[in-house]
């Protein structure tokens, strides 16, 4: 009973956060939804899209409005690990034979001390820094010490030569549970939203810097995470999920050569996504419609034509098991 009350309150808070984002960014509802789900479920998010479509802006806005300790890093070709995790420290000691002992360590900063981090243009840094970073993101600890990070939001341009980047390999991509592809409003022919953006930014409301109101705080996220674990996934929904995965594998022949259907992604994180979908809707029980949250996970895990139809596939699974 207590849980369902706090679920309602949590959902209300997240609705407020969504509305705050709407103040500055028109459209991109998918992106906004995904950002909120990521924060609730404490999963990392990967957003890919051409330059200038408000990816970075949304990531920054959501962190500011959520009032979390925030770290922004712009990746570049020469990104060094030290820039991401703090400063390098060396300690020297003379030993008895007159030699010198030099120890190297890190003074924590950056990703190691923040609650939300925005990793902008992550695919521009193909070097070793990225590998270490992704390992930290995955394990959520550094040198056996847990880090306070809730969610890492990575953005990237599509891999074309123009942008001096290289695609993340599938194993690295898998560390971002939530994956989205986004395009500009102009390119998507969304003329009503184009109008709204022009109107919004032609007005004199924003002159220089955009500063959203901090409306949430860490306690709400901690509470949400606690409640999230008590969200109930009914047997029927589990069967629907299994049915969907079954059809992925047996009907559409998805395997390791063309997809990334890992147990971790779909059986552990997938279920977490369902719960997050329910919780942001103010419920403590998952409903079949929450399965549509899986569409935020399939973007780069299944071939594109399957991903484009994943909504229909989910509906089919809901129907098949429902009968």
């Amino acid at each position: 009973m207590d849980n369902s009350k706090s679920a309602k309150r949590i959902a209300q808070n997240f609705r407020k956060l969504h509305e705050e984002l709407d103040q500055y960014v028109i459209g991109h509802d998918n992106l906004k939804r995904a950002l909120l789900l990521g924060l609730v479920a404490r999963e990392h998010i990967y957003i890919e899209g051409p330059p200038g479509i408000a990816k970075t802006m949304l990531a920054e806005l959501v962190s500011a409005a959520a009032n979390l300790d925030f770290y922004f890093y712009q990746f570049h070709r020469d990104t060094r690990l030290a820039e991401l995790v703090g400063d390098v420290v060396i300690q020297r000691e003379k030993d008895s034979q007159g030699g010198e002992l030099i120890a190297q360590s890190i003074r924590k900063g950056g990703v190691l001390t923040c609650e939300v981090c925005v990793l902008d243009d992550i695919s521009r840094s193909p070097g070793e820094a990225l590998n270490v970073l992704l390992r930290i993101l995955n394990e959520r600890q550094y040198l056996q010490e847990p880090i306070p990070l809730l969610t890492a939001i990575a953005t990237s341009n599509p891999t074309v030569d123009d942008y001096y980047n290289e695609p993340l390999d599938p194993a690295n991509l898998d560390r971002f549970s939530i994956q989205l592809r986004s395009d500009g409003l102009i390119q998507e022919n969304r003329w009503n939203q184009v109008k709204e953006v022009i109107d919004l930014y032609s007005s004199n409301r924003f002159s220089d810097e955009i500063k959203p109101k901090p409306i949430l705080n860490r306690e709400i996220f901690d509470e949400a995470y606690k409640v999230l674990h008590s969200v109930v996934v009914p047997e029927a929904v589990k069967r629907m999920l299994i049915d969907l995965l079954d059809r992925f594998v047996n009907q559409y022949k998805l395997d390791s050569s063309n997809s990334l259907i890992t147990d971790r992604a779909f059986l552990v994180k997938g279920v977490k996504m369902l719960k997050a979908m329910a919780l942001t809707d103010g419920r403590t029980t998952v409903e079949p419609k929450d399965l549509h949250g899986l569409a935020y996970m399939t973007t780069y895990r299944v071939p594109e034509d399957i991903h484009r139809n994943v909504g229909t596939l989910i509906d089919e699974s809901i129907q098949r098991v429902g009968e």
Binding site: V88, R107, D162, G184, I186, Q187, N189, V194, K253
Partner: protein, 671 residues
């Protein structure tokens, strides 16, 4: 507050030193007031650098000039590299950081970057990042405007074009020419008179202060942008995207620039003209913004498009009388764009066929030659202004990047080799060889090394870059079934492919086939970097005959036999099964494997994809794609799953089983 005298002052300084070049002068003023970067392309000696210098001197801002060259190092642009060492607060040891002592672009308010495209990639990357973010290591920099000039890209100037993503950093973009080039002989005479004496100083007597410029910037943002102007601008964007097929592969219309910055630029232009409310005419500021953001032929029509929109903003989408059939069709469909979307999303149905007939009738009337340059020719032929660019607009093809992305990905995983290159990415470590590499050292080792100098230099990054280049042959089906809509789609696909290949600087070959194959060569050479010629050929096809896969494959593979590189690709575009020859192209598949050529297949249409295409791609390590009509009347390219995967009943059908079922092959007899 009246800004007119101050702005007039800047203007007067420019006029005093440079004759003509009104667009450049206006753009410089726009850039300074709007605080946006400017990119000027022009041949040497057309006063672009002089103008930029004069403008920078006319405002009292700190100024930085750099003539970029092929050996420009990043530290020349941003300041000297330093290694910071500080005691660890409250602990033992020492904190070590790498940084720069800020200088150059980091401390200037106006930066003039002359010949920007000559800078080597590694310096340019950092520079452009700075311009974009206006921050260095999270610290804001005081830069107001960067003015970059460049010569036209030509092998003789030792430069490379900036790529579009980088160009987006420069909101204002211009192309300029000298007075002689523009045949402005009056101006030329004045220039001769003006410089017939000792050179004068370009320092301004009454420079405009930076505070005033900042106030002007705020005032410009307060200009009203009335609804009518917003509507007109939206119409304009709609026209670019839906009538001229401007999309992410050929244009750079980002939401940030087009939706956020352009309205501000419109305001700034109105402000410069002393108004507090923008008018539709102020959309002409787009001339300084779209120069390199839309394809050239669209840019040439910009004046006309803007004029049409200014005249009748609401009606610009509606068709004009002049062609009865088309008129009728569009009335039924509420507007050309939606109409097209509906027709093309239901190919094969009665409605679609009718439209096809109409389109073909239209093309017949206008003569075949118009296909090649539809926009210019129509502009001359039309009677009503707004009917000029209605019909032959290029089809949009979305998501083709996925195709080149995959091909690219394959190169990097399998065949492409890295080589050491100063512009590459840091991949591993090596010993420092010269002090030029100091920025790339491992800071800790450097700190230790500096305490006890030794001949053994600290480690630096080994930078590596993948080889680009290689060859691609586009093999295109021009059989009877490709006539009409399919031909137009395929032409668009080829155009986009060529444009993408152009960016990779790959050589390209082009083959068309039906029951025979036709190879295009130029001066006896098949592989070429003359991308425009291939686009011309590909947009001008006649479709007839039946389909034979064998000949074109063989022709393409023959060309690859004499190429030594690793990076060999065929992109095979078709809409149907082979109807002649060995429909399993067994011999050609074997050749492709032996030559290590990846054959990528792109099936166009909504019917079932022939299984043999899957087999060809899978065997040769190529990728498989399908292009399907989308709801906007264009094409959407997606990766295709092979039938053996998607259809369980065919799971056991290996290529070998297929071969047994085949009709007696023609090839085996020849051998």
């Amino acid at each position: 507050m009246d800004f007119a005298p101050a702005l007039q002052n800047i203007r007067a300084s420019m006029d005093a030193h440079v004759i003509g070049h009104e667009p450049v002068k206006e753009a410089l003023l726009l850039g300074l007031v709007a605080r946006e970067h400017i990119y000027v392309l022009g041949e040497p000696g057309c006063a672009k650098t002089l103008l930029a210098e004069v403008a920078a001197n006319a405002v009292n801002l700190s100024f930085y000039f750099n003539q970029l060259h092929r050996d420009t190092r990043i530290n020349e642009l941003i300041g000297d590299a330093v290694l910071e060492r500080s005691p660890m607060p409250g602990g033992e040891g020492e904190v070590i950081r790498q940084g720069v002592a800020p200088g150059g672009v980091l401390t200037a308010e106006v930066a003039l970057l002359d010949d920007i495209s000559r800078a080597p990639g590694e310096a340019l990357n950092v520079l452009l990042r700075l311009l974009n973010e206006r921050k260095y290591q999270s610290q804001p920099i005081p830069l107001v405007t960067a003015i970059a000039t460049t010569n036209p890209t030509d092998e003789s100037y030792y430069n490379e074009p900036l790529d579009p993503a980088n160009l987006d950093r420069f909101t204002l973009q211009l192309k300029t020419q000298g007075s002689i080039g523009m045949r402005k002989w009056d101006e030329a005479r004045t220039i001769m008179d003006r410089y017939d004496g000792p050179p004068g100083s370009i320092a301004s007597r009454h420079p405009v202060s930076s505070t005033l410029l900042k106030q002007a910037h705020r005032a410009a943002l307060r200009v009203e942008l009335p609804q009518r102007v917003r509507v007109a601008y939206r119409e304009f964007l709609d026209t670019l995207v839906n009538k001229f097929g401007c999309d992410s592969s050929n244009s750079l219309l980002t939401d940030r620039t087009m939706l956020v910055k352009v309205p501000r630029m419109i305001k700034t232009l109105a402000f410069l003209e002393g108004r507090t409310e923008a008018r539709v005419e102020d959309l002409r500021v787009l001339k300084y913004i779209l120069t390199f953001r839309v394809p050239e032929h669209v840019y040439e029509l910009l004046d006309e498009i803007l004029q049409n929109i200014a005249e009748e903003p609401e009606a610009a989408e509606l068709d004009q009388p002049g062609d009865e059939e088309l008129d009728g069709q569009q009335q039924g469909d509420e507007g050309a764009q939606q109409g097209e979307a509906q027709e093309q999303s239901v190919p094969g149905e009665g409605e679609g066929d009718l439209v096809d007939e109409l389109m073909e009738a239209l093309e017949g009337e206008q003569g075949h030659s118009e296909e090649q340059k539809p926009l210019q020719l129509q502009a001359k032929a039309g009677n009503e202004p707004s009917s000029r660019y209605q019909h032959n607009a290029p089809q949009t093809v979305k998501n083709l990047e996925v195709l080149l992305g995959r091909i690219n990905g394959r190169l990097e995983r399998n065949t492409s080799e890295s080589h050491v290159h100063p512009g590459g990415s840091p991949r591993s470590w090596k010993r420092m060889q010269t002090f030029d590499e100091f920025m790339d050292t491992d800071p800790v080792e450097t700190a230790i090394w500096m305490d006890s100098l030794s001949p053994r230099l600290p480690r630096v990054y080994r930078r590596e870059k993948k080889h680009v280049g290689g060859e691609m042959v586009i093999v295109r089906d021009v059989s009877q079934s490709m006539e009409g809509r399919y031909a137009r789609w395929t032409s668009s696909v080829v155009t986009k492919l060529v444009e993408l290949v152009r960016k990779k600087r790959m050589r390209i070959g082009y083959i068309e086939f039906n029951h025979v194959s036709r190879k295009y060569t130029h001066g006896g050479r098949f592989f070429t970097r003359d991308y425009d010629r291939i686009i011309d050929i590909a947009s001008n096809v006649v479709c007839s005959g039946v389909t034979n896969y064998q000949f074109p494959m063989r022709e393409a593979l023959k060309e690859f036999r004499v190429r030594g590189t690793n990076n060999k690709h065929i992109v095979f575009l078709t809409d149907g099964e082979p109807t002649q020859g060995d429909w399993l192209v067994r011999e050609e598949r074997r050749m492709a494997k032996a030559l290590d050529v990846a054959v990528h297949t792109l099936f166009i249409g909504t019917t079932e994809c022939p299984e043999i295409l899957d087999v060809i791609s899978e065997e040769t390590g190529g990728c498989q794609f399908i292009a399907i009509p989308d709801e906007h009347g264009g094409l959407y390219v997606a990766e295709r799953l092979s039938k053996q995967r998607t259809d369980p009943s065919r799971r056991l059908q290996t290529p070998n089983v297929l071969e047994l079922k085949s009709p007696p092959g023609t090839l085996s007899r020849r051998h």
